[in-house]
Symmetry: C2
Subunit: 322 residues, 2 copies
Amino acid sequence: MSDIARIEAAARRLRGHIRRTPLLNAPLLDRIAGRQVFVKAECLQWTGSFKARGGWAAVSALPPELRAQGVLACSSGNHAQGVAWAAAAHGVPAVIVMPSDAPAVKIANTRAYGAEVVLYDRATQDRDAIGQALAGARGLSLIPPYDHDEVIAGQGSIGLELAEQAAEAGIAAAPVLTCCGGGGMTAGIALALEARAPGLRVRPVEPAGFDDTARSLAAGRIVRNERPSGSICDAIVTPQPGALTFPILHRLCGPGLTVSDDQALQAMALAFQHLRIVLEPGGAVALAAAIFAPDLGDRVICTASGGNVDPRLFHQVLGRFA
Amino acid sequence: MSDIARIEAAARRLRGHIRRTPLLNAPLLDRIAGRQVFVKAECLQWTGSFKARGGWAAVSALPPELRAQGVLACSSGNHAQGVAWAAAAHGVPAVIVMPSDAPAVKIANTRAYGAEVVLYDRATQDRDAIGQALAGARGLSLIPPYDHDEVIAGQGSIGLELAEQAAEAGIAAAPVLTCCGGGGMTAGIALALEARAPGLRVRPVEPAGFDDTARSLAAGRIVRNERPSGSICDAIVTPQPGALTFPILHRLCGPGLTVSDDQALQAMALAFQHLRIVLEPGGAVALAAAIFAPDLGDRVICTASGGNVDPRLFHQVLGRFA
């Protein structure tokens, strides 16, 4: 099956279950950015992030008898909620392996969707080993966060919507900035746009110091981050681009961009004030680049990929930047 | 022209200029409310509130030669921004008469849309006299905030969208709770639903102590508020229901509901956490009733009508309730 055929098949399975999120913009935000900024508001997606798409796509693609035994995911939070929600909606059990320092709101929400949460210590324990042992013992199907064809296809449904929404807005050519962790959403959107809106070129955005994708794209091979954690952008910190996602990114994306933590926090405050949406830091890096990065032209599209932020952090952001 | 024909004509003029806002819901919010709660997120509308609809409808309905001379509105903030934005988009001047104690963000945004803002003192000056004098001297067309057929028709476009979105969600019968000030949006939605979804019955929601509409509906005649101001729900405090809007509300709406200031603030915090949208207090009263009011049944629709909140107030809300 071709990449675009797989994305369209996933989009058909998602229909009626996933929200078509709006493409927002605001004249007063454009004035601050010095360019038109269009924001794909995936924070309004079920579970508060785009991960509901990939979760649904992967769970719905499982053979029914395997699916009935349940699914397992390892995630710091948004993929956790996406898979937990999709499993609950399919009526099958979910076990989610989460780091004990994940934002409390993400752990609480994952449990609220009915999943069994298994916590581990990021510094001393290997989550993949924990996950594989549990999956083997209980017959659960592992749903990886990004390096998985159906997950990439599910996130790619964002690209199908963007192609339509950009056409409606009269945009034939523009950079599409994505919040990039392991690259599942970035790869999915890039594949969809390659087929449906080739004038829209994806450029991944990462937090400074955790720019494994930007450095990998520049090097032409997979490069790791030096530190495993420590960014406020918890949702999009991964050790390195995926084995499946990187070749797609390398073929289709422009150079990666990085933003500072403070730029991500400022973007959260500006999204609050001008778009009336709630973003988490990792979900705001693409908007931060859209507002603050030079040389992106007069018009840019970006993903606002998640809004599962701890209220205390948002409280600080408003105190500092709004 | 019939009411529904006027609403449909307004909706045609709005097409391509106004956002079809999403009808949001969240399983975890439903659990807190003890019922399904569907939220029409008008905070995502241009200018951050539904007032952009009525502003556009009224400005676009003016004869071109009158429109070219400019428009004038008296408003504490959201109608101000709606008219200022619509006038700017039509390329005509706007003068907005605003109370000097309006939220700073609303005054700043109204100016940012290019309007001339004239401030007055709510306690000592008569805004209508100021507005009429300015309109007469400069040949400006007055756009009233609610007691105006085209404004009501523009807000009624929300009802057309709600009728379609409720049908898509499989909802044939439910209360539709509205954030109610002078009653323009409430009347417009009620007229649209009467024609397009008669199982959806509107019930206005107001802040306790400023429940002129609820008391007027109960009395069967227009009753005034005792105090002219002093609510945190600045967007929806009006002295009494309108002469045009009240007969529509009286004919079509169920009994009014009231919520406390703290319930409105808690609804803002819950919308932040579970829907990832930003609401102002006056835009959150219907959601507050949807969550906290008894005897509304298993399923309720509400408007989240505005998100132009001062960051300091939102900061306090997160500190207290999130």
